[in-house]
């Protein structure tokens, strides 16, 4: 049953891609969206059954792929990722109907979204090295085409595509190398066989394999310092695609780390996981900081994806380290928390990207400095975006808080493990969690407050209209998910428990007591978000009622609408409002050492006296410091090598032959 459902889930999006490519005009949009939504539902059913029953399914067919054939298998770990992707994909497909409708979309646009979706659903089910690599490459290719599909002529988009292609292919090469190395030494390319025989492999080999694959998976997940493609690609992609990228594709990086590190290599060494945790700490801090500093709505969201991936990596690293140290209960708890946060992140970040797309759709810009006052123009979008923003800021009663609490609890109880290095890593993790908490709240207060509240800053914002029902439906699906998982997080526990113990080598015992809330049975610690919400609502009603009952004379009952207090100024315009840039300024000043903002200030003086400036222009941009410090030199060096190489072959046949001969000799020497 689950097998057929999952296969339908794979097939429908492929069919949708075909339809999207062939059907004429508007109809291709609707057809593709409907089919891929159907596919997502089917995939959800299939994965859900695996998660609930806990029985994986295995499938082999020699037909599709020559030489090796295709091996598919879905265990609870993979199923969790398939289910998450399916939910985000469902929302994105609904949304794409309205999103594409402003102009008849190109065939690539409508074809690439379902194709990308199909590959995303395929990767977690790949059960052999060959299948995995093929699926991975397909995902890279379709995502690249989907990224380019909307406006491929904009220089930013092309630039982003180049960065993305470069990073993703370096990563894929590393993964290829690592997995092939693993398969050759393990003597089989099926994951099951490798997992069974990993003990026979020598530690240096497994370490090399892990580091190589980690390089690839971390770059896909967007972990610092391999994140540079992410803040370029996510903003430039069409919003449904960026929702899928942030909500589903980066997760697969995490999936790969778990699959290889825990499942195939059986836990491995302590330092592997400390490395992962370190990547996580760096990503969390750097991402949150840049999210707080950036003023482009989608760039902000992209950096906050780096931040949240960092939090998940902290959890994964801590879980791996604790597992190596033999703390199975704690390891299971922390991994469960990390997976929970990953699911939550998919929900709210997907929703936020769809919301940002709605902003762009309605106002024609993503620049927060040019928005404002949209809460009254597009109330529904504002509500859905607000739910996402509050969830990601970990406001109690929404899902972000539930998973961050669980993560904090796991790290806290991890301090009982008497390994100094692990404890230091845990401390770093908690510190990173704490710092990013405040920074994320700042970033999303900025996004929500500057984007949706106050007065509209430009004509575009003033002319904004609410988006169509299909787009709202797409956002609503994810927003509802945020609220439900926030109020009764307990419903996810059994599912997450299975996924976590499948993701941890040797499984993990149950750490939480089943129920609607979260209750660490033996570890003393529990919350009941549902009751908190009830309490909050009760307090709200009481406070409101108390004010209504206050003795006030009749004409003062209703609140009066008055001009905003501007110190009695004669006229005040939206130009006097605070902008996103100036909102972020204090934080930017505090963390100037990390952010390295560059300003330039030009003052042209009046002709009469240079004490009276005629015009003052101030520009400020916050570039990615890592990109500037790490990548620019590399790129220039590569370019230099390129020039050098161009000078070497001057067309003489002998020289080419000489090169070939030298290469041959080299190969022989190596083989000998």
């Amino acid at each position: 049953m689950s097998t057929t459902a999952y296969l339908i889930g794979l097939g429908a999006p492929c069919a949708a891609a075909l339809l999207g490519a062939v059907l004429p005009g508007r109809r291709r949009l609707l057809g593709a969206a409907l089919l891929s939504a159907l596919g997502c539902l089917a995939a959800l059913v299939g994965a859900g059954e695996v998660l609930v029953s806990g029985h994986p399914f295995v499938l082999h067919t020699a037909a599709v792929l020559p030489l090796t054939g295709v091996d598919l298998s879905l265990d609870p770990l993979g199923a969790l990722f398939v289910a998450t992707t399916a939910v985000v994909g469902l929302a994105a497909s609904c949304y794409s109907v309205g999103y594409g409708s402003h102009a008849t979309p190109s065939r690539t646009t409508t074809a690439m979204l379902p194709a990308f979706l199909a590959t995303l659903l395929l990767v977690p089910a790949a059960a052999s090295v060959a299948t995995f690599l093929v699926a991975w490459e397909l995902m890279a290719l379709t995502s690249l085409l989907a990224l380019l599909s909307e406006h491929r002529r904009r220089p930013e988009t092309r630039d982003a595509a180049q960065w993305y292609a470069a990073m993703t292919h370096i990563g894929a090469a590393a993964i290829l190398l690592g997995l092939v190395l693993l398969a050759t030494h393990a003597g089989s390319q099926s994951f099951a066989a490798i997992a069974a025989h990993h003990r026979r492999l020598s530690t240096p080999l497994t370490s090399v394999v892990f580091v190589l694959t980690l390089l690839g998976f971390a770059s896909k997940a967007g972990a610092v310092p391999l994140h540079v493609w992410l803040p370029r690609a996510h903003p430039e992609a069409p919003s449904p695609v960026s929702a899928l990228m942030s909500g589903a594709m980066v997760n697969l990086g995490i999936y790969g780390i778990l699959r290889v590190g825990e499942d195939l290599l059986g836990g491995g060494e302590l330092w592997w996981w400390l490395l992962v945790a370190t990547l996580g700490v760096a990503s969390a801090f750097f991402g949150a900081l840049h999210a707080a500093a950036s003023t482009d709505a989608k760039r902000l969201l992209a950096y906050s994806t780096v931040d949240n991936v960092g939090l998940v990596l902290i959890g994964v690293g801590a879980a791996g380290a604790l597992a190596v140290g033999g703390e199975r209960v704690l390891a299971g708890l922390v991994l469960l928390a990390a997976l929970f946060h990953l699911v939550n992140h998919a929900l709210f970040k997907g929703g936020l990207f769809l919301g940002a797309g709605a902003l762009q759709h309605a106002t024609g810009t993503r620049d927060l400095d040019r928005l404002g006052g949209l809460a009254r123009k597009m109330p529904a979008t504002a509500v859905f975006f607000g739910i996402g923003a509050l969830s990601i800021s970990a406001v109690p009663g929404l899902n972000g808080f539930a998973s961050e609490w669980l993560l904090l609890e796991g790290l806290l109880h991890g301090f009982a493990s008497h390994s100094a290095v692990t404890e230091a890593a845990l401390l770093a993790g908690v510190a990173a969690l704490a710092i990013t908490g405040g920074l994320t709240a700042t970033a999303f207060v900025k996004a929500l407050g500057v984007g949706f509240l106050g007065q509209p800053r430009t004509e575009g914002a003033r002319a904004a209209r609410e988006v169509g029902p299909s787009m709202l439906a797409g956002m609503a699906i994810l927003a509802v998910g945020c609220v439900v998982l926030g109020v009764v997080p307990g419903v996810m526990l059994p599912v997450l428990d299975r996924a976590a113990s499948a993701g941890l080598a040797g499984g993990a015992p149950h750490a939480l007591r089943p129920g609607l809330g979260l209750d660490l049975a033996s570890l003393r610690g529990a919350i009941q978000p549902g009751l908190l919400v009830v309490g909050l609502l009760a307090a709200l009603v009481v406070a409101w009622g108390a004010l209504r009952l206050a003795p006030r004379s009749a004409e003062l009952r209703l609140p009066r609408r008055a001009e905003a207090w501007g110190c009695g100024r004669e006229l005040q315009t939206a130009r006097m409002e605070i902008t996103a840039t100036s909102f972020a300024e204090p934080l930017q000043r505090v963390f100037a050492d990390v952010l390295r903002p560059d300003h330039d200030l030009e003052v042209t003086h009046a002709a009469e006296s240079r004490y009276f400036p005629e015009a003052i222009s101030f520009h400020q941009r916050v570039d990615d410091a890592i990109e500037r410090v790490v990548y620019r030199p590399v790129i220039t060096a590569v370019a230099w090598w390129g020039r050098l190489a161009r000078r070497v072959p001057n067309g003489s046949v002998h020289r080419y032959l000489a090169f070939g001969f030298a290469a041959l000799v080299l190969v022989l020497v190596v083989l000998a």
Binding site: A420, A424, L427, A428
Partner: protein
């Protein structure tokens, strides 16, 4: 005296020494730095005294007295005179800004926990496991020594290092040989005296103490 209580006091004293080092990094006012020093001296003396009472070791008691006089009163007093001589003196511009150096201090503390944890694992007992606090004090002291411009605050860094060393010594060997501790305190005393002479002459010449200006003089 209940051993548990003695241990509590020792832990507290060690913690205060480390906290003093962090405070020294936090505050820019030189007077504050000096009061931190005397606080550290006092708590070191207390620690030594408690150990002396606990083991009934007279020599250690003497050391406690010496520490109290040297580190708690004399050295801070001399430094205070140097500072009082040029009023309003603050560490205006450390080479690393305060938040950054504070974060560095946090990292140093964790690092010393990792390193010293390995060392003390060799012969673990109630006192040796506190050694990381002393090591952290030494590291933070070095950091102060490296990143501060004013001669006085560099001396403060030196004294922080010295206090940290003394703390480690007390904890590991439960009472350093009397002479060693005396020697340490005395040479620091010597340094301070020399500094004061230097400072007074420099003030006579150039009015203020800033090593960067000295470098300019040099070339």
């Amino acid at each position: 005296m209940r051993p548990g209580a003695a241990l509590d006091v020792v832990e507290l004293a060690a913690g205060v020494v480390l906290a003093g080092a962090v405070l020294a990094l936090w505050r820019k006012d030189l007077r504050a730095l000096i009061s931190v020093l005397s606080l550290q001296g006092a708590s070191l003396a207390t620690l030594a005294a408690v150990l002396a009472v606990h083991d009934g070791d007279v020599g250690l008691g003497v050391v406690a007295g010496v520490v109290l006089v040297a580190k708690g009163l004399v050295i801070p007093g001399l430094l205070a005179r140097v500072v009082r001589a040029d009023p309003g003196s603050r560490e205006t511009a450390p080479l690393v800004n305060v938040p950054a150096s504070l974060v560095t201090a946090a990292i140093l503390v964790v690092v010393s926990y990792l390193v010293a944890g390995r060392l003390t694992a060799l012969f673990p007992n109630a006192l040796t496991r506190l050694a990381p606090l002393g090591l952290a004090t030494v590291l933070v002291g070095f950091f102060v020594l490296v990143t501060r411009r004013k001669a006085v605050s560099q001396i403060v860094g030196l004294l922080l290092v010295d206090n940290g060393v003394a703390l480690v010594a007390f904890l590991l060997t439960a009472g350093v040989p009397l002479l060693v501790e005396l020697g340490a305190s005395l040479d620091v005393l010597l340094v301070v005296v020399v500094l004061q002479v230097l400072a007074t002459t420099m003030r006579a010449r150039f009015g203020h103490i800033d090593l960067d200006q000295l470098r300019e003089l040099h070339d």
